[in-house]
Amino acid sequence: MNFAAPDFFPAAAEIFVAVMALAVMLSTTFARNIARSLAYALAQFTLLVTAFITIFTLDTVVINDFGGMFVHDLLGGILKLVVCFAMMIALLYGRAYLAERRLDRPEYYLLALLMMLGMMVMITANHLLPLYIGLEMMSLSLYALAAFDRDNACSTEAGMKYFVLGALASGLLLYGMSMVYGATGALELPAVAQAVAGQTANKTVLLFGLVFLVAGISFKLGVAPFHMWVPDVYQGAPTPVTLILSSAPKLAAFALALRLLAVALPGLAGHWQTMLMLVAAASIVLGNLAALVQHNIKRMLAYSGISHMGFMLLGLLSGGGGTADSTIVAYSGAMFYAIAYALMTLAAFGMVMLLSRAGFDAGEIEDFKGLNRRSPWFAVLMLFVMFSMAGIPFFIGFFAKFAVLEAVIAAGHLWLAALAVVMSLIGAFYYLRIVKLMYFDEPLDNAPISASPELQLMLSVNGVAIAALGLMPGTLLSLCRTALAASSITG
């Protein structure tokens, strides 16, 4: 048996994050009196350098590394880059909020970096083992982060609920993976795909495993009927953690779904498409209807997130089975949706953080009343975010919805497209209600916006990006298409 040492260069970004996480841990242990700001600075520095490394190693050539367990492709590169930016923005938004509540312990940034590592491992996994371990790294860090405000009963409850349900979902996913391994005898994703295509694998066992895989993926994406944890965890966790939870991990879960379903099991596309169809329809209906009656903004955004993930699945389930070209178009629609959603959810929770100050959490929708009087600029930005989430032209959210609906219609599921459009019309009500509160109601309190300047600046950039990308969505969409066309996914 001969063993060749792997090439470490393609994994440079992952290795850098891992080393820096350890550096953060050690340096904050020794420099106790500046630990809080040091951890934050090091975390932002790490994310920035990681983004640079990822940009410089972007390549359309697919490299398999570490004995086929790691894949370096354009798809992974772009997803890693977006995740990196999402984490940077999330940490920046949360900084002042955490400091005011004395929650900015160095462990917060350490766990965020370790979570980042887990997401990168998931995104670049080409083997069931790293895929699962990456998922566990991400989830374990998130459980701890959700319970990070440990003296607050709501936060602890959120962490506990997330942990118990998340452990169950990981178990389901692992059971599904073991069935796939049992049927195909392979752990490497391309080898699994080959075994399925070669008809050597037992179909019943494979389908049995597939059910568990889809259940596990649905839980991690937070779509109905596996959504029970989403509203409670979003509401209970500290707002900066909710912000992290709702943005980057959704992209990682998208990568998980893509690698498991599109790379490893394209041979069973007909089966998982039907399952995802039901899941997507259920979450679009449930998410939009339940969001109508919420009065807590974090809960409302949680239900809106459920429906958005349902929309994202519309793109995912329209690929496969058709021509290679239509598959790429469908998957890139889903990827575009995931990126657009990350951008919108960052801005939405950023607004919640903007209105909060020491000793006051802007948790209720009522807190947005009369924002126009208090700060016209941020009222306009919130209007951008809400219009974009509702799918009103010409914001990025509209083009995201347009891309996935186009893919669904091309795949021939007209009823699903019609349902999605009707439901998103109903959903527009609760987004527009916030706009109405901001512009036509009297403010509850006239306290000036006291958020830190860097939060105000970044939030402005974020809000303007939603509008600007809406004016030229073609760049991002074609980038998604190029990434998927260069990846190992075939039609």
Binding site: M1, F3, P6, A18, M25, F66, G67, M69, F70, R105, E107, Y108, L110, L111, L114, L117, G118, V121, H127, L129, P130, I133, G134, E136, M137, L140, S141, Y143, A144, A147, F148, R150, G159, G182, A183, N202, T204, V205, F208
Partner: protein
């Protein structure tokens, strides 16, 4: 019946019974000891499968280290196990129904037919001097080095998470700093402060105050 089969059934019967006792025993120390028994029998089954390294690790790590630590925890901490078990019988019918239904459905789909000996033939026996440990070590540090390192990070995350959620520095405890104590000088130990003398209030005022206090 072959001797090996007899041993297997013997070990697995004890394993299942011991596992049942782990969840039903009232005394937590007994439950922990039954768990030790269950682990030991599981180790025996692994030996039958000629996975001697796993068997040894199970006995050494789980029985030798984890369970002993667990016994210490059970004995030292005053955990009210009655309270932990509250609701066990109330939720049992529901849980058993759902679990039973799941198990029956899964058995109906899969049964034993796809994992029987004809579907998954028995691997060829290895030579007597074949080293399981060496083989495991070889793949763990070469082909599987990547997930192995990542697994180490998972453990690190678990540790960081546990410490960050539970560690509390006690502010109330009064540490003695010897260097401060030794450096103290006698001028610093006691300060004399000059105060104006206070006069005792007349007796009538006190009685009136007491009356007002009592009336409140």
């Amino acid at each position: 019946m072959e001797f090996k089969t007899c041993v297997f059934y013997f070990l697995s019967t004890i394993l299942v019974l011991a596992a049942l006792r782990v969840v039903t025993a009232r005394n937590p120390v007994h439950a922990a000891l039954y768990l030790v028994l269950a682990f030991f029998n599981a180790g025996g089954i692994w030996l039958l499968l000629s996975a001697e390294f796993l068997a040894v690790v199970l006995v050494m790590v789980y029985i030798g280290a984890v369970m002993v630590l667990f016994l210490f925890v059970v004995m030292m901490l005053d955990i009210d196990f009655k309270k932990l078990r509250e609701g066990f019988w109330r939720y049992l019918p529901m849980g058993a129904t759902v679990g039973g239904l799941l198990a029956v459905e899964m058995a109906l789909v899969l049964g034993g037919r796809y994992f029987g000996l004809d579907a998954m033939p028995e691997p060829a026996a290895k030579a007597a001097d074949y080293s399981n440990t060496q083989e495991l070590g070889r793949v763990l540090y070469t082909e599987y080095a990547y997930p192995f390192e990542l697994a180490a990070f998972v453990l690190l995350i678990a540790m960081v998470a546990a410490v960050s959620l539970t560690l509390r520095r006690r502010r109330a405890s009064k540490y003695i700093a010897p260097e401060v104590q030794v450096a103290a000088r006698h001028e610093e130990r006691m300060t004399l402060v000059k105060m104006a003398a206070e006069k005792k209030k007349p007796a009538g005022d006190e009685a009136a105050e007491a009356g007002a206090g009592g009336g409140r």
